[in-house]
């Protein structure tokens, strides 16, 4: 059997743990730079505040309905997510972290278990230990877990937040209840094609023949169909260290000055390098991207990317930023108003056992320098130490006007009690 544990309105729930007065009140969380709504509590959903709503347009709506609007506090969400995932490992060794707020569990050799009971224990422990409410869907396959989880979420009173699909009767009933567009992995285009074929529900989809699905779609949809039939086909994916790391951002204003662009690229590259060192990886290759605002149809458009391959894998901020800045200089065009830039580091290898190159290697002085920088930045605050080409007079500070404290990751931000 498998289970999907999904945190309810995760970002809003994290905020509520440390600010319980937000309980039962509408909460909305904004994207980086306070752009648009990316997460909503049930109360905010019920007020019909749409996902993706640009806040400058919805400000008065939020004021009117007393919606608590907050900047996204990723250090907090990341830490709370790590706690939840760690607790899940108490219940089975096979955990696939599917996203920041959901994980698949596999139960091998749990035949005698009462999964409804077990699911309730999982929920209860996560809620008590971290304050985060969850729903648990249990079923013989991962795709059916997704369906079971939706049922648990939709009918909290009847299910107590846990739903188990353990008979064919329950499976068919659940599939008939699930609209085709809500099936895991069915995108907008697939939905249209399936609906044209008369597939309204997940159950209809399982009634198509295997051959038709394989011929008209791909192996992925065929696997999904098998999974929905209750035949385990989509296996647990235990994630290794990330295979690439990206830092890309839209600018608050468009930018056509090479010095500013170089600064941005340098900052993004430094952030990638820090993440590399954090997971003990080095990269073989970086990709630098630059693009104009494609929504401004009247302005001249330009987007380009440049790949740089290193002669040896590196995790040094100095080497990576230097290469990134050189690369961006080659793709930058004057007169273009750029809106977005990014750095991706890829071709990752573990730092400790990469192949040595006989002739070329990282300057050995970088390693102790980088670890000293990381230590200081962790101990004091982010970006205590940075390269001189990063952040010219802090022009680019991310807009986070409604940020809650970093309750679990900064000692000066912890809650105070009277």
């Amino acid at each position: 059997m498998y289970a999907l544990v999904d945190c309810n309105n995760f970002y809003a729930s994290c905020e509520r743990v440390f600010n319980p007065s937000l309980q039962n009140k509408p909460v909305a969380i904004l994207s980086n730079n306070d752009g648009c709504v990316i997460a909503r509590s049930d109360e905010a959903k019920n007020l019909n505040l749409p996902m993706g709503a640009p806040i400058f347009k919805w400000e008065s709506f939020c004021k009117h309905h007393k919606i608590n609007v907050l900047s996204s506090n990723y250090p907090l969400y990341g830490d709370m997510s790590a706690r939840v995932m760690k607790i899940l490992e108490h219940f089975t060794p096979d955990v696939e972290i599917y996203s920041i707020d959901e994980a698949f569990l596999e139960f091998k050799g749990f035949d005698e278990y009462d999964f409804n009971e077990y699911g309730k224990i999982i929920r209860k422990r996560i809620l008590k230990w971290t304050g985060i409410p969850t729903c648990v869907g249990v079923a013989p396959t991962k795709a059916l877990c997704k369906v079971a989880n939706k049922i648990a979420r939709k009918f909290p009173k009847e299910t107590g937040g846990v739903y188990v699909i353990d008979t064919d009767e329950k499976r068919i009933k659940a599939l008939k209840w699930t609209a085709i567009k809500n099936v895991w992995g069915i995108g907008r285009r697939l939905q249209k094609r399936l609906e044209a074929k008369g597939c309204k529900t997940a159950f209809d989809f399982t009634q198509l023949t295997d051959d038709w699905v394989r011929n008209n779609f791909s192996i992925t949809e065929w696997k999904l169909k098998k999974d929905l039939e209750g035949i385990p086909t989509i296996a647990l994916e235990i994630k290794e260290a990330k295979r690439s790391i990206a830092t890309t951002r839209s600018f608050e204003y468009t930018c056509s000055d090479i010095e500013n662009i170089k600064e941005r690229i340098s900052t993004f590259a430094a952030s990638c390098a820090e993440k590399l060192r954090d997971q003990n990886s080095s990269c073989h290759m970086i990709i630098v991207m630059l693009s104009s605002d494609r929504h401004k149809k009247d302005a001249e458009q330009h987007s380009a990317s440049k790949t740089v391959i290193f002669p040896y894998p590196t995790d040094s901020t100095l080497s990576i930023t230097k290469a990134a800045v050189e690369a961006v200089k080659t793709i930058f065009k004057t007169e273009i108003k750029y809106k977005r830039a990014g750095v991706i580091v890829t071709g990752l290898v573990p730092t400790d056992n990469h192949q040595l190159n006989l002739f070329l290697h990282e300057n050995p002085k970088h390693r102790p320098l980088m670890s000293a920088i990381d230590r200081l930045n962790k101990k004091y605050k982010t970006d205590t130490i940075k390269l001189a080409n990063q952040d010219l007079q802090r022009t680019w500070k991310m807009k986070q006007e409604r940020l809650s404290p970093k309750y679990t990751t900064k000692i000066n931000d912890i809650i105070t009690v009277k």
Partner: protein
């Protein structure tokens, strides 16, 4: 010397020269302490039994000075522990975090300060009240 073959001399390294060998090299009597090496004392391990459920808070005010909780002390809070009579708990009461000693008797919950200048609080149905976590240690600067 033949012109067809040119010899190069490796440049002397400018590193400090010493090679560090992690395991040590036997030269003389081995340290008698090696077999008894232990890891250093870790305050994290002493003070935190359940990492996933542990949070920190700072004390503001004097209401618990009798229990040794002074202004600005750091509290270690374990959310996994069950609230019981006489435990010191961080609670959320009517819009504010508070730390008090729990008193549970005859189906009634009281929050008892440890300072005669503060009143004992009876929790009723009117209160917006949550027991947030149990205090396990107090860390103070002296």
């Amino acid at each position: 010397m033949s012109k067809a073959l040119q010899f190069f001399t490796p440049k002397a390294s400018n590193s400090n020269g010493a090679i560090f060998i992690d395991t040590g090299i036997s030269a003389g009597f081995p340290s008698p302490a090696d077999d008894f090496r232990e890891t250093r004392i870790s305050l994290d391990e002493e003070l935190i039994t359940n990492k996933e459920a542990t949070f920190f808070a700072k004390v503001n005010g004097q209401s618990m000075i009798g229990a040794g909780l002074d202004d600005n002390d750091l509290l270690v809070i374990d959310r996994s522990l069950e609230p019981e009579n006489n435990k010191i708990a961080v609670c959320f009461l009517d819009g504010e975090f508070t730390v008090k000693r729990l008193k549970v008797r005859d189906n009634e919950v009281w929050l008892q300060p440890e300072n005669p200048n503060y009143p004992i609080i009876k929790i009723t149905e009117e209160n917006d009240f949550v027991i947030w976590g149990i205090v396990t240690s107090v860390i103070k600067k002296v």
